[in-house]
């Protein structure tokens, strides 16, 4: 069963005088465990598409199912709950909470969203930080971390809730090439280790090659699908077992 099914998604932003068609009739299906990129130039609709898949926005028309849920029917509160349980986010500017340490940033969704008990939280956070190689820096504040380290913490924060899907909007845009490459490798490694589906958007040609499936967008339309490597599709039991290890 597909993790994401999108049918004829369109999104139009209307102002008083101008109507901008950000997405036009976009359809696709994404299998669990995919490591997938939406690529395209600025303004091609990558971010809009990720926002729709991440239940942060709603299309003007079309159908969208994520993890078997018709997410377009979700209200504001239900959408937040759905995101908290099923989707992890990695942002271009890392978006770590400035007043919290690396440990606390990763712990945040477990406290404020999933409301897990202390012992379980601690266990999960330490494992997530270890998985991204940030255990030693766990007590450092975001301002004390480099860009690459911040993004590693952000990846740990996205993974710690054991989501089915991680969405990363231009995750390497603020990083140098070497760090960007390392972050992509780390994301792929996390996919391999925990079976979590990773979808990222980028216009950085240097890292596009890391994606196994590439969707190209132009002017809001999906123009090409390219498969570079076969995703390691797993059963939900396999994925559950791997996530528990996180």
């Amino acid at each position: 069963m597909s993790l994401i099914v999108a049918k004829s998604l369109s999104k139009t932003y209307a102002t008083d005088s101008v109507e901008v068609k950000a997405l036009q009739d976009v359809s696709f299906e994404i299998e669990p465990g995919a490591f997938l990129a939406f690529i395209g130039p600025s303004g091609s609709g990558k971010t809009t598409l990720l926002n729709l898949v991440g239940c942060l926005d709603k299309p003007t028309s079309g159908e969208l199912q994520v993890a078997g849920m018709d997410v377009l029917k979700l209200g504001r509160r239900q959408a937040a709950e759905f995101r908290g349980q099923n989707i992890g986010f990695i942002f271009q500017s890392f978006n770590l909470i400035a007043v919290l340490t690396a440990f606390e940033n990763v712990e945040y969704p477990l406290v404020m969203v999933q409301e897990l008990p202390l012992a379980e939280r601690r266990d999960r956070v330490l494992k997530a930080l270890q998985a991204v190689g940030m255990l030693e820096q766990k007590n450092q504040m975001p301002e004390q971390l480099s860009g690459g380290q911040k993004q590693r913490v952000a990846i740990a924060r996205a993974l710690v809730t054991r989501p089915k899907l991680v969405l990363a909007d231009e995750p390497t845009a603020n990083l140098d090439h070497q760090t960007a490459y390392m972050i992509l490798r780390l994301m792929k490694q996390m996919r391999d280790s925990f079976g979590i589906t990773f979808i990222f958007s980028t216009h950085d040609t240097r890292i596009i090659g890391e994606a196994e499936i590439i969707y190209s967008l132009e002017d809001g339309r999906l123009v090409q699908r390219e498969e570079r490597g076969k995703p390691n599709v797993q059963s939900s039991e396999d994925r559950g077992a791997k996530l528990t290890a996180l």
Binding site: N51, G54, L56, D57, R76, R77, A80, E81, F82, R83, G84, Q85, I87, G88, F89, F91, S93, N95, I97, A98, V99, L100, Y108, P109, V111, M112, V113, R157, A158, T161
Partner: protein, 415 residues
């Protein structure tokens, strides 16, 4: 909850200068309110105590209509012996009554055999009067400062009258009065003391023994003009008055209709209006505190929300429910208010303690060199603190609500 407080505290620390300024402003407001309340309330209480304990009593009982015509001190409106014994029986049954004293009041001529003037005479039982008005003896500026000053044949002369007449302790004077029947009677007295006025210049009240008053007025029974009552706790005076009215079977109609009247000190003294004004001032000072807290918290929280739009977008995107975002900002406002209240209370109590140590003096009426001893009731401290905290949370409500209603997608786009 602990995590909310931790995050709120860290956010407040993030903007140290602004948080410090806000806390200082709130603390200043709390200090001002506490010190103002402590000083004004202690002065007010002192003045009320001075009035009630030295001449007025906490409440007074008269025959109906007496107070309305008190300037003429009408003898025909005295309480009859049967009424007096009924009142005494009632007072004995009320546990909050500490003491009471019967008085006969009448207008008289006061003469030193050279000059004559008018005087208001209060015939009292010395022990009872001193029990009902414990500060009465302290008003004696010259002469015997004890109950013996009111033994039979002695008179306490008001200071201004004594000065005008050149009367001194040990002089002999004569008091002449007209009784109820219209006949005139007089009696010589030894000046045993000079009496300060309780409230300031003026006052023509002299004091003699109750039996001497009866003798001058040729009263045979236990007839009195008024009964002055001291209560164990002044704030309960209205309750005691109600108990007395109930005990005497006085309804509202009967109270007005000419039976027996019970008046509290606030109904008898114009100082009650000043006391009320002090209460009104205190109220407005508290309103100012609310305004200070409201504006400063609202300002700082609006800024906090505006500066953290992307952060709000991030936490909303990762699944934080709107009510949790609301709580985050409310807790921040709560922490600011709480810190301001704690600092303000600490400094406020410190200043009050300092004022007590510095022993500042003030004058009231004829009393000079009175030491200012501000005190504040724990309830006032709790009220001021709760007021600040509640207003802080309320002021945070609008910015917090705005934060919780932000669309994550819009907030994440914010630059």
């Amino acid at each position: 909850m602990f995590n909310l407080v931790k995050i709120a505290a860290r956010n407040l620390r993030r903007y140290k200068r602004r948080s410090l300024l806000t806390v200082s402003l709130i603390a200043f407001g709390v200090v001002f309110v506490l010190v103002f309340v402590a000083v004004t309330v202690s002065i007010k209480d002192f003045m009320i105590a001075q009035i009630t304990d030295s001449y007025l009593g906490a409440l007074q009982i008269h025959r109906g209509g007496y107070v309305a015509s008190i300037e003429s001190l009408p003898l025909n409106l005295n309480l009859a012996p049967t009424a007096v014994s009924q009142i005494e029986k009632t007072l004995a049954g009320i546990k909050d009554v500490d003491a009471y004293s019967e008085r006969i009041k009448f207008g008289a001529l006061f003469s030193n055999f050279k000059e004559t003037t008018n005087i208001r005479i209060n015939g009292v039982y010395p022990e009872k009067e001193c029990a009902a008005l414990p500060q009465m003896l302290s008003r004696i500026s010259e002469g015997e400062k004890c109950v013996s000053a009111l033994e039979k044949g002695k008179i306490l002369v008001p200071k201004l009258l004594a000065q005008g007449f050149g009367a001194k302790v040990g002089d002999t004077v004569v008091v002449v009065a007209t009784n109820k029947d219209g006949s005139v009677n007089g009696k010589t007295f030894l000046v045993s003391g000079i009496l300060e006025s309780a409230t300031g210049p003026g006052g023509r009240d002299g004091y003699i023994n109750f039996d001497d008053a009866k003798e001058i007025l040729r009263i045979s029974g236990n007839e009195v003009s008024e009964i002055v009552v001291r209560v164990k706790s002044l704030p309960k005076v209205e309750d005691v008055a109600q108990s007395i009215r109930a005990g005497l079977g006085l309804g509202e109609k009967k109270q007005k209709g000419g039976g027996i009247e019970v008046h509290t000190w606030s109904q008898l003294s114009p100082f009650a209006n000043i006391a009320n004004m002090i209460d009104v001032m205190t109220f407005f000072i508290k309103v100012m505190l609310i305004a200070i807290v409201l504006i400063s918290i609202l300002n700082v929280m609006i800024m906090a929300v505006y500066e953290r739009v992307r952060e709000i977008g991030t936490i909303a995107a990762i699944g934080t429910l709107p009510r949790k975002i609301l709580s985050l900002f409310l807790v921040e406002g709560f922490c600011l208010g709480l810190t301001g209240a704690i600092v303000g209370v600490a400094f406020g109590l410190g200043i009050i303690f300092g004022l007590n140590l510095s022993k500042i003096t003030f004058n009231f009426g004829q009393a000079t060199g009175l030491i200012l001893a501000p005190t504040i009731a724990p309830m006032e401290v709790v009220t001021a603190s709760l007021l600040v905290i509640v207003v802080s949370v309320l002021a945070s409500l609008q910015p917090a609500y705005k934060a919780s209603r932000m669309e994550p997608i819009d907030a994440l786009r914010h630059v």
